[in-house]
């Protein structure tokens, strides 16, 4: 059994799950970087991520800003959100999509000698 912790994960679980967003793909998501509380390396930006199959490869992929990365839909049954997570990628990236299409993109990566860094972007997804 997989459980989620975190500071308010238990509270979220207690609220009851909403119907999951439809399983449809591809998704096209528009995000704006959130730099509040971040260090100077965070640059405000707007970008899109397409979550879709690509030619000659299996599965789903993130495509954005010159990056193509394989992802897995890790959404459990009866979930209130859909989450896509990168696979075998040096960075760890995830896009979480709510029923309304509201979405959050997070990217965590390692800065040698400096420690971990994270970028967060808020946005909206729609089915293509």
């Amino acid at each position: 059994m997989t459980r989620v912790g975190g500071i308010i994960g238990g509270l979220a679980l207690g609220m009851g799950a909403l119907p999951a967003m439809a399983d449809a793909v591809p998704l096209l998501c528009l995000f704006t970087t959130d730099c509040a509380g971040q260090d100077g390396a965070c640059l405000p930006a707007t970008f899109t991520i397409e979550i879709a199959p690509i030619d000659h490869e299996a599965g789903l992929w993130f495509t954005y800003d010159g990056i193509t990365a394989p992802v897995r839909d890790v959404t459990p049954e009866d979930a209130a959100t859909r989450t896509f997570l990168t696979l075998g990628h040096a960075d760890r990236e995830a896009v979480t999509v709510f029923d309304t299409g509201e979405a959050i993109h997070i990217r965590q990566y390692y800065q040698p000698g400096r420690g971990p860094a994270q970028h967060t972007a808020f946005g909206q997804c729609e089915v293509l």
Partner: protein, 134 residues
């Protein structure tokens, strides 16, 4: 017969894959940003992690006694871990500098919320009460 069995046992032992080593970390989250757009405040929250990149298994002990199962993955000197359930996802990264970032995207009622914890970790692998082999 006894000799044959012993040889077979040794052969089996040497051909077995190396035991996967759990890595254990004692972490203190000293900053929590619970609102979209920052809202960061000082915290002092203990978390313990047992992570095994070889088996892909991860366990988190949150607030001293609440255990959660997840997954672990290592790349470029960083240990990434992941916890998922029907409400959302939590993702964390510990690096060899002893720093940790831990993030959650969660459905809370009719909202989608995001939070981030920053902290420091001490690796306790192999110490008393620390890591074990699986």
């Amino acid at each position: 017969m006894k000799y044959i069995l012993t040889t077979a046992a040794l052969a089996s032992l040497f051909s077995a894959p190396a035991l996967a080593q759990d890595r254990t970390f004692e972490c203190t989250m000293n900053e929590a940003c619970r609102q979209n757009g920052g809202g960061c405040v000082a915290e002092n929250i203990p978390y313990n992690f047992t992570l095994n990149a070889e088996t892909g298994a991860g366990e988190m002990e949150q607030r001293e006694g609440n255990f959660f199962d997840g997954a672990a993955h290592e790349s470029d000197g960083a240990m990434h871990f992941l916890f998922i359930n029907s409400a959302g996802i939590e993702v964390g990264t510990i690096t060899d500098t002893g720093r940790i970032i831990y993030t959650g995207n969660m459905a809370l009622g009719d909202s989608l919320i995001h939070y981030r914890l920053n902290g420091t970790c001490v690796e306790t692998t192999g110490s008393a009460g620390g890591g074990s082999s699986k």
